[in-house]
Subunit: 163 residues, 2 copies
């Protein structure tokens, strides 16, 4: 039932044929609490979400249940922005909405979970539900490089013992 | 491609077989601006969303992009509560997340639009996207009576010229 499974050896991305969903799984040398902080602490988040060498600005960041967020990236002379609201922020689970402002009425619902694997490792899962298969597939094609770069940067941040 | 179409003569509810979505359409003797106010003004919203004779309390209501909401209903000795965040609040479009707290990790993404039909009528559409077909079908079975009652109450509120 899986349309596509991509793995760079560490990140698995699945796009099932029967649901407009992207399911991602990635192990980290981290605790669930560190992964939670990496996804909620403003200063940490900007240091990995764009990948190495990116410049991201948090226009707004209120990482609590009922809060909201917006960030802006710069690539050459282009700006690209994303925004949404935090439906749930708990230590084991974040649910937020996500819009890429290049497609202003497009929105998806994303759930992140942080699971302890023991031995200093934790599993990040993200499930992103789109309103259509077309919207899901459009995101899928641009997602792979982005998340691979971002998670490699998060690996480096975790190795530096700053989280 | 439609699993189920329900109509009480005024409300159409569709559940497609290929997407975990509920699509609802309902005409009102109203302007789009009146429908928008009925969905965003706290005092108005509590007067129709539970149907006639219901007692609802807004625990929290901040109807703007990036805001959040929670309401609690009482039925006999039972309380039932719902909450979410507002992803988008514009005059022609509201996007919010929706959780029934009886299923605390369940969440759906709902988009409401308000379209002018002329002659003093407007069309409300709501598209609700669930994370699975099971979650969608569970909601579908309890939704029909609820929305029919609520929209009949909204009709009465609109007729009273208070919106």
């Amino acid at each position: 039932m899986t349309k596509k499974t991509t793995s760079d050896g560490t990140t698995t991305i699945e796009a099932p044929t029967d649901l407009p969903v992207i399911r991602l799984a990635r192990e980290f040398a981290a605790s669930p609490a560190q992964l939670f902080r990496a996804h909620t602490d403003a200063d940490l988040f900007v240091r990995w979400i764009g990948g190495e060498g990116s410049t991201l600005t948090l226009d707004h960041w209120d990482a609590r249940t009922g809060g909201s967020w917006r960030y802006v990236g710069v690539s050459g002379s282009d700006e690209y922005a994303f925004h949404g609201c935090f439906h749930t922020v708990r230590e084991d689970r974040i649910v937020w909405t996500f819009t890429f402002e290049g497609i202003p009425d497009g929105v998806c619902l994303e759930t992140f979970t942080f699971e302890d694997l023991g031995d200093g490792r934790a599993l990040l899962r993200s499930d992103s539900t789109y309103e259509s298969f077309e919207a899901r597939d459009a995101m899928l094609s641009s997602m792979e490089t982005g998340v691979t770069d971002a998670y490699a940067q998060l690996d480096r941040l975790l190795a530096g013992d700053e989280i």
